[in-house]
Symmetry: C2
Subunit: 235 residues, 2 copies
DNA sequence: CCAAAAGTGTTCACGATACACCCATGT
DNA sequence: ACATGGGTGTATCGTGAACACTTTTGG
């Protein structure tokens, strides 16, 4: 097979910034790196791109290895390509942020990678430029979620409005008026109220809601703002 | 030097989707590919990433080679990484869209690449998946420009409000009310009216405006909507 | 004097915000 | 009975959209 001559080939890695939400706080799934350099240090889950897979497929593979989950919400963020970002060998990293339902995950946790959930606010130091990747991912998530209904990916199938509101409040480090919030969310018609209530976090109990899957997928890329004044939060 | 073992290295290319605006229509700067395969076919300007440069730097280098311009507005869009997208050898392409002032360019055009401006609506067929890259870039540009004041990058230093409006109208393939448009644009305080008028395109003449550079750079990433109902245009 | 494009103000409607009370229940 | 969190309605304000006439001047 013919090749392009005189050009340098480089390693390409996908690194996953895996977000979860435990009902109270944002979490990040990190692993303890199992190989040199920086063995034992905390790191994002990642892997080198294989000859037969695209970046997207590679990221899904890496996620499946760690969490057992497939079809996870993934979004590419701009590549990290400083020539010396990896001290071993030049590696271009294409980060993906992933939104997963922390409950689905728990059962499947592989012990192979020494993975652990950290509160986003209490992250350990990470190797290389992974810290910066997390920062970028957080910014991107804030941006995207201000305009599109993607945070549902972090919630279990059934969730309550107060939980949904907490989710948004934690991401934007603010509080919202619950009357306005519920009106805005319900007006999208994306949510279906269930008979059942969640009695865990209050005496009265809060109704569970499920997504109207059809409307949800139709509106996935739609422009739905759940938070007031999004411009305040967008960079 | 130590290396990661057992992994495949790949070529990484940057490809530039170069947009211009001639005062009436969007244009795209394409080159006639000078090497096999698909020699002579129209293509985006691109290049392989070099050992000492980041992707961003590589894209700027490629742009400079073709146009002579430096410090051009560039934005990365998600990588194209299908294993067989380049028939010669696996290459991951990281596309950047560039917004340039078509007037600054014209003098500097290198003849080396057989470059030519095409109307965006009358593009020839492009090699590989470059067509799809242009589509993606167009979508991204529409998205970004609906929320942030980036289209000024396409205009010369002095421009008139009617030209600015035409620019937006062409991108969104619609028309806007000029009273609302000018009010909205001027209310940002980003524009400074000049004494001079452009008498080219009307008898009465239209005032030239310049950007207030300081405010512009402050608001570069700010949330400024110049078009009504942006949600209608965002995917 | 006429054609062609530039420039400008007001009204209206809707969406966004602010705000406070009652409800259900477990202890 | 009371403490705790859940749920709901209304009044007001401000932003965004619709809309039409006057101005300038080259021919």
């Amino acid at each position: 097979m013919m090749k392009y001559s005189g050009q340098t080939r480089v390693l390409v890695a996908v690194d996953c910034i895996i977000f979860g939400f435990d009902g109270e706080n944002f979490k990040l799934l990190l692993i303890q790196r199992g190989f040199a350099p920086q063995k034992q240090k905390w790191s994002l889950m990642g892997g080198f791109i294989q000859p037969t897979e695209s970046l997207e497929v590679g990221a899904q593979r890496v996620l499946k290895q760690l969490t057992g989950l497939e079809g996870v919400y993934l979004e590419q963020i701009p590549a990290f390509s400083e020539p010396n970002r990896d001290p071993v060998e030049r590696t271009i990293a294409v980060p993906y942020f992933a939104l997963i339902d922390i409950q689905k995950y728990e059962a499947q946790l592989s012990t192979e990678y020494h993975a652990e959930w950290f509160l986003l606010t209490e992250m350990p130091n990470l190797i290389f430029d992974h810290q910066r990747m997390v920062e970028m991912a957080k910014m991107r998530l804030r941006y995207k979620a201000a305009l599109h209904p993607i945070l549902f990916e972090l919630l279990p199938e059934k969730f309550t409005l107060p939980k949904l509101q907490t989710l948004y409040e934690k991401l934007y480090e603010t509080t919202f008026d619950k009357r306005n919030f519920s009106r805005k969310v319900l007006s999208t018609g994306l949510l279906v109220r269930q008979e059942e209530k969640d009695k865990e976090s209050s005496r009265k109990g809060a109704f569970y809601y499920k997504l109207d899957k059809e409307k949800y997928y139709d509106n996935f890329e739609a422009f739905l703002k759940f938070i007031p004044n999004p411009e305040k939060f967008l960079i």
